[in-house]
Amino acid sequence: MVFDPRTLDQPKDISAYRDQRYQGSVRDQEVALRTSCTLYVGNLSYYTKEDQVYELFGRAGDVRRVIMGLDRFKKTPCGFCFVEYYTREDAELALQNISNTRMDDRVIRADWDAGFVEGRQYGRGKHGGQVRDEYRKDYDPERGGYNRAIAQKSKNYWENRRRRHASVLGQISIQSRQSHCFYYIFSKL
């Protein structure tokens, strides 16, 4: 066997991410990841539909099924999906060529998945969506705006503030309270 120098540039190895809730031994997981025909696809917009995923990932080969990730409580899409192919080669092709391109104007990311198991379609975050949406700091309108934690915090903040103001304002005349309210609203815009 002669040496194929092209392999120098292609780390055939899989990424370092491991699903922490994988049911099975570490070795099973490694084997599954190296033989599976399933991809995890992340950073989707909440508004991306299943048929778009079929269309895009169908470009790399025959798709067996697509499983949309759902919010555990609301049962609405929460920004990820699994794409299962019939062959490993097709999945590899998709990983090489579709990962890091755009869908609905978002750079989507794909990685190997050990295979879909019922229950995995649900978000694992406290709020029902994906965990990463709880750490995100930016405002992302296609993934529900600010992350849930910030959203919750700011909601609490405004509520407290309203309450505090209400108690203070209780001592002020109605007329001035109205003007104060206007001031209060406009100053925050």
């Binding site: 040496f3 194929d4 120098p5 092209r6 120098l8 048929d51 269309e55 099924r65 092709l93 391109t101």
Partner: protein, 809 residues
Amino acid sequence: MSRRRQNDDEDETQTKRRRGAPLISDVEKKLQEVIGKVGEKVCTNSRTLETKISKSQSTGSSITMNLEKLTEFLTDDLDKYRTSIIDIVAGCAIYLPNRVTVYTTLVGLLNAKNFNFGGEVVEKLIAEQQDLLTKQKYQEAQNVAIFLCDLGNSGVLTAQSIGEYLESFISAAFEENMPQVRNDYYIQTVLRCLPWIGKELTEKSPEQMENIVEAVGKYLELRNKNHVTLLQVWSSTDQEQEDYLESLSAQIEQLRALNWTENHIPRYYKDFEAILADALQHNLPSFASPDHTSDMIYPYPLVVFRLFQDSDCSSFSDKPLPGGHSIDRFLFEGEISWIIEKNQFNRKSCARELLAFAEENPSVPIGFLIFETIFGQMLRLPHAPYPAIFHCSLVLELLKLKPDDYPSILVQTVEVIYRRADSMQPICLDRMVDWFSFHLSNFQYRYTWPDWKDCLTKDAYSGSQIFLREVIEKCRRLGSYEKIIAALPSDFVKIHPCSPDVRYLIDEEDTALVQRAETFTQMFQERQPAEAFLNELKSAEGSEELPYNINEFGLFVMVMLKMASKTFSHNFSALFRYQATLKTVCDASEQYQEKLLETLFSCWKSNQQMLMILTDKLLKMQVIDCSAVVAWLFDEKMWAEHNRQWLFEVLNQALEKLTRQINVVEKDIKELTERVENKGTDDVKEEEMEAEEEKNEKLKQDVDDLENHKEKLERMVTFQKGLFNDFLIAFVEEIKIAGANTSEMDGSGDTAGRQSPKFQWLKGRFCHVLLAHAETLLKHSSSIAEEVFTEGADPSVTECFNQFQSLRF
């Protein structure tokens, strides 16, 4: 318990295997890296080589220095790691053709120090070349030939023996009763080698050079060129699309006239002339062509693909584009293809290396040539060399790395494609639609759409309008209906896609029908089992032939599709839940299959993606069979859809699947045959524990299996043949009618008959089907010629088929 036991056993074998596997030593790994990367501009292994190349040095000299150091480094280890080094160098010769001169120089330098080494490398390469040819890896085998020839420049081989080597290729091409594609390959190999070694040969062995050139000329004269029209991307262009071999030969002739002065092969051995001149040279043995067998598939003939002329790029750069017929254009194209070939699994490194190549050649607008080569590959007939999605993402990657220059080149490319769309073959137009829609989906569907307004007034079968319409359709699927409509100018209404919703058409006044539909709806809601529906569909006056009420079956399907219309997942689960109903009914008669497909079409007429995916699913579930799909698509009722892409996608997918199934059976047969034949030798290796009886049992099982598989294969092949014949007959008939039609009523506009865009388009689609299934159809071509192309067939379609047949000759 048994399970755990099994696991343990597995563990053991795994560890055993791991222990037993020949581990690559660290030294070897280092060698691989050092040798494999020596041709790269910035040497990543500078630490190992102890060379810190300062950036100020030019590329040429840095590689020269790399080579010097590497030679020094390897000379010490040459005896100890000889086989490994030879294997690695051979690998680089086969797989890194874009670095050929780097490695021939290296072999030359090592040969100068150690005479035997050069001989052993040559020996190894010759063995590898034979092996590659028997494995039908023609491209790689050609790389080896170029490498061997270039060894003549680095003082390893004598010019005389290289001349003989090339002559033996020529005589292989002149063997009698061989397919032309095989001979073409040998001639092409000789021509591809000449830019490297031509000068040396002319100087040192002029007689042989004369012989070679003369023989090639003679060969080309006798050659059949029927295939050229079929393989041309456009039926008419301002740039010629000549036969590749002929064009290449003309280039070489011209190059010879210029005494082989080209200006881009980086000849690193020139820097070491003194050392190399003193080396002892070997003789290259002649080439022996492997025996030809009927199952060998040689590379298809090629036509030259040119997208740009100098005028196209003059507004972007002041550097002149090498002329369409100059050898430089050919060599650049070849080199770009090599870089793509090497990086076909990694779009990022591919784009990076292409750009590095562009930087190495600042005097030429390489960007244009990169795009030309990529699109040439995408549009190559019959098949593109790489999966379409790779080319798509490669283009994106290039734009990402060069956001200032490359987008404008791409715009230029798209313009050329659109401008020539009317004469583009449908199979190529489809590929462009797929690429461009993917591309736009990465750029928010923004394009200067109004520029393409002119095609709206053209014929519905004109290439440019079809291109635009299908691009919009595919964009809709990748994004959404609303998004693409918003991106289009308002006067594009004429070709807006329909809103992709389910169509549920029931005659409200037919109360009986409405009531039945309600019954079905309720049954679905109650989640009644599949059998309940079967009973419900049983017809009272049911004959043996049609035991179920066919109209009610249609209604059942319609209600089901309506209720499952929300997503693909809903559809799939409905199909699986009622698979038994569908399959039992459809197995009863073909008419039910027909009804099923008709109903599917009427419900999802405006959502082609749904049609495609559901048809595919039904085929996979074996509810319907391939022949029903083909009959449905080519029924007269569907003719109106024949200017749409989806129909041919469904068709080709269905036919492709059948071929793939046949291939699987063929592969099984091959394996079984091998197992049965090798039984004797296998026994020795097998564990002694196994009883003799058991072995015999196994053998018997294999023999039986083989028999069954062979029967199955025969059945499938007969079915496939029949299917293709029936379908081609239907298609030829349709084209004939389109050609004979002189009325303007069918939308063919002012031009009637064979000049009409409709006729041309259908004829192109016919070629599309031939090319898409070339391997299968070429196998059955004689029976097709007999059964399909009877006297009645349209002569221009028969002509296409004749051109197609010559792809194999």
